[in-house]
């Protein structure tokens, strides 16, 4: 077969050699009317692959959705901060700890900005990070298994919005607070906000091998709102930039009261300097209470550990580490170009786009040219740092991405468009309507030194759909553009799930090659795994009954279970013995109060069932697994609480 394969590939290559000449001619003739055949540009034929992965945040759905580009097909929904009955995530005993926080079990989340890990400023496709806004958390997903592997809660933080962007070697992922709060939290009058609240910017270190996260330090900043952020790169590597709003420190009717200052700030943080300070023992340990949840791929089980302190740094104690750059009118996006020189501050109430120069910033700092200070932090002069202004490009600028060819693309929420402009000359080159009110936009490789500027997609906030109507509630939408030419070209509308804020995307190669197809049964270290039918058993431990259950096409083992009593807590530990790609088995039992399970090949998952009634109750496989899926079922006999029915189990014969 292999030989057939090689010879047929050789044949194919030869044929290709002949036909490609023809193609060359054809494409030449396509410059006419056929050149506008847009459908062809997004068509991915059956059996062929998309060229890019896109990971969209699910907003209030608390998850991440995986899309293919250019087709706009959705491949997967990965639960992160929310329970997910499809797989049992957040319901199974193994994954419940993932949603543990200092506020207890939180079954939902508001996911915002995904970012892919980087090495030397390029996307390496190992992990995806994403922040949760409401209960401040950062999650790390494996891009091998496409599962959530770790979630760390962020203390002293509220509205974890200016997250989760990574530095160019994934040294840190940041979690910047949107809302400033009393630190530590205490009972105090809200009107005393000004001067008393603080904003924590957290730098979470990422272990290079495992990806494990740890809050290295928090910078306790003045009580502004910290909106978005981006790392420096290249020449500005070692710095992090955060936009602020409400520098007025108003505490009520912010729509008016936080829009009074002509300029707010971009906070420039020299994290290398603070890191050095911390490594030399700087900062103070502060009592805290936050959850660190880690999923172990070998035990298929998550553990939640409560951490009791966090290192905080007062920026004034690290001179030269933190500066404020004045930026017009409530800047939202804060985007750094691939070279690391330009920092774009999108003042969402400003008519112009402001671009700062990193080099000029360093000059101003060196010459100590300060306009003043805020809470002891030096404020630079707007004019000293300004690189240029894009004049009147549109209304309501939000976010900017770069194509790696010297162009920037900015979304305009109010005028609903994407505007392409040139770095350095600041002239507008092209603009395209988005038809919806656009929020973020993504270019694959966006937050890196090497954008892959073929596609750009805009994610829309207020959708009056251009699809068939689905009642008052509908999904949001995205629009895909080809940006490989001089002018942007709208290729596709595609619906998205939840409210995608930001997305991270990259060429498919690395991720596709490393994608895992099964869990090896031999590596399964789950304490309740049954690795063969011989290991299956039912064990009573007081009121708890542990059922070691296996699944394989097309039966459960055991499939007849007796001796369960009303009032027992029954743990179904289901191990899927399959070692074949895409053969999960499901598990459900009547009266199950939590969720079904979906167990991947080689994996063990546990569901608790508390039988309330005497009877003989069926369980079955919920995922169509084979021609005999419908026969994949079993019975549990539940006896009265005071009965003496002994524990028994069997498969293939009657219970003796």
């Amino acid at each position: 077969m292999k030989n057939l394969l090689t010879s047929s590939i050789a044949m194919f290559v030869i044929l290709l050699g002949f036909t490609s000449c023809n193609n060359g001619n054809k494409s030449g003739s396509k410059s006419g009317a056929l050149a506008s055949n847009i459908a062809e540009k997004v068509y991915v034929a059956p059996g062929e692959y998309d060229s890019h992965y896109a990971f969209l945040s699910g907003g209030y759905s608390g998850n991440v959705t995986v899309y293919g580009l250019p087709s706009g097909r959705m491949f997967k929904e990965i639960p992160v901060f929310s329970q997910f009955p499809t797989s049992g995530y957040g319901y199974s005993e193994e994954t419940k700890p993932m949603l543990n926080t200092s506020y207890g079990f939180i079954p939902w989340g508001d996911a915002h900005h995904p970012d892919i890990s980087q090495s030397k400023g390029e996307l390496d496709g190992r992990w995806l990070f994403i922040n949760e806004n409401n209960t401040p958390r950062i999650a790390r997903l494996s891009l091998t298994t496409f599962e959530t592997e770790e979630i760390i809660e962020v203390p002293n933080s509220a509205g974890n919005h200016s997250s989760s962007f990574v530095t160019e070697n994934t040294e840190y992922v940041v979690a910047g607070t949107r809302f400033s709060v009393p630190i530590p939290q205490r009972d105090m009058p809200i009107k005393d906000y000004k001067g008393n609240f603080q904003g924590a910017l957290s730098f979470i270190s990422v272990a290079p091998e495992t990806g494990n996260m740890d809050i290295k330090f928090q910078v306790l900043m003045p009580g502004f709102n910290y909106d978005l952020s981006h790392p420096g790169r290249g020449k500005s590597h070692g710095w992090f930039f955060f936009t602020t709003y409400n520098t007025e420190e108003a505490n009520t009717l912010l729509e008016v009261n936080a829009s009074q200052n002509d300029k707010d700030f971009i906070a420039a943080i020299n994290w290398k300097k603070i890191e050095e300070y911390v490594n030399n023992g700087g900062g103070t340990m502060m009592p805290a209470n936050y959850a660190h949840n880690v999923y172990d791929e070998h035990t298929h089980t998550a553990t939640s550990t409560m951490k009791k302190e966090v290192r905080v740094v007062n920026p004034i104690e690290v001179p030269g580490a933190v500066y404020f750059i004045p930026t017009p009118k409530s800047p939202h996006g804060c985007d750094v170009d691939p070279s690391g020189e330009y920092i774009v501050g999108n003042g969402k109430l400003s008519a112009n786009l402001t671009v700062h120069s990193f080099t000029k910033m360093l000059d101003a700092i060196e010459n100590k040219k300060f306009a003043g200070e805020a809470y002891g932090i030096p404020i630079l002069n707007f004019e000293d740092v300004l690189a240029g202004v894009v004049e009147q490009p549109g209304l309501g600028p939000l976010h900017t991405e770069f194509d790696g060819k010297g162009n920037a693309y900015t979304t305009f929420f109010i005028s609903s468009e994407v505007v392409k402009w040139k770095l350095g000359t600041w002239e507008v080159v092209d603009r395209k309507p988005t038809y919806y009110s656009v929020g973020h936009l993504t270019i694959p490789g966006g937050n890196s030194g090497k954008p892959q500027g073929k596609y750009m997609f805009a994610m829309n906030k207020i959708t009056k759909d251009r699809y068939l109507p689905t009642g008052p509630e509908m999904e949001h939408s995205a629009q895909l553009y080809d940006i490989s030419g001089d002018k942007m070209e709208l290729l596709l509308d595609f619906p998205t799930h939840g409210e995608p804020h930001y997305a991270a995307a990259m060429e498919a190669g690395i991720i596709k090659a490393q994608s895992q197809k099964i869990y090896k049964l031999a590596d399964n270290k789950h304490p309740y795994a049954a690795k063969s039918d011989a290991d299956t058993k039912v064990v009573r431990d007081g009121k708890n009954v542990h059922i070691y259950l296996t699944t394989i096409r097309s039966h459960f083992s055991p499939d007849n279970i007796e001796g369960i009593k009303v009032g027992d807590k029954v743990y179904f530990h289901v191990t899927n013995l399959e070692q074949d790609f895409d053969v999960p088995h499901g598990f459900a039992v009547i009266g199950q109060n939590n969720s079904e399970l979906l167990v991947m090949p080689g994996q063990t998952k546990t569901s608790v069932w508390e039988p309330k009634q005497v009877g003989v109750w069926p369980f079955y496989c919920t995922d169509f697994c084979s021609a005999l899926h419908q026969e994949m079922q079993g019975y549990v006999r539940v006896s009265a609480a005071n009965s003496d029915t002994p524990i028994k189990w069997s498969l293939g014969e009657d219970i003796e």
């Binding site: 077969m1 292999k2 059996g47 099964i518 399959e578 070692q579 074949d580 021609a627």
Partner: protein, 205 residues
């Protein structure tokens, strides 16, 4: 004759490739298996092309009542074949050496080839018998029973060589690296015979 003898020795030694490379390969592909399942048949046992292929083939085959793919110790062939192949390779080398020193005539080369061919044919016959049994001797309690148009139970015997469609699977059975090395080796012994004959005829004239 010296050249012929060396070729004879090389040809015989190529048989030893069977100790490293599979003799035969059977691949099972289907639309729902974008990565086809496959088994490599070595002289001392059967291995999956990918780690879990055998397990998965067995899993599929249980629907139609086929036996599981035999382990090495379940078939006498897998302990016998290595001995035969090693023996034949050594025999070839010895004949080649004797030829080199002029102790035996080139005709022994052909003798070896014919003997090896007979063994090969017996091996193929045995292999085919196994395939017939494997594909036809089905569990009467099989979940799925498919009959031929004439009412006889369908056989799932993979092809001895070439391609066959078995239900939804495309089955391709072809020699693999070890097998090709053996064929090349055997051909070389024929070349050795022909060379030896030529030299000997030249000498006579």
């Amino acid at each position: 004759m010296k050249k012929a003898s060396i070729i004879m020795i090389i040809g015989s030694l190529l048989l030893l490739g069977l100790f490293k490379f599979p003799l035969w390969n059977i691949m099972l592909g289907a639309p729902q298996y974008p990565d086809p399942l496959g088994m490599n048949i070595y002289i001392d046992g059967i291995k999956g092309v990918s780690e879990f292929d055998l397990q998965n083939i067995d899993g599929l085959n249980h629907y139609i009542g086929m036996k599981t793919i035999p382990k090495a110790d379940e078939m006498w062939e897998f302990s016998m074949f290595p001995k035969v192949i090693f023996g034949m390779a050594m025999l070839g080398v010895i004949i080649g050496l004797l030829g080199y020193f002029g102790k035996v005539s080139y005709k022994y080369f052909l003798g070896w080839f014919l003997f090896m061919s007979v063994l090969g044919i017996l091996g193929m016959y045995d292999f085919n018998n196994w395939l017939v049994d494997y594909g036809g001797n089905l569990d009467p309690h099989a979940i799925i029973k498919v009959t031929n148009p004439d009412g006889t139970p369908m056989s799932y015997k993979p092809p001895l060589i070439g391609f066959k469609k078995l239900l939804n699977f495309d089955v391709t059975s072809l020699p693999h690296t070890g097998g090709y090395l053996m064929f090349v080796g055997m051909s070389l012994t024929l070349v050795a015979f022909w060379l030896g004959r030529k030299t000997s005829l030249n000498k006579k004239t």
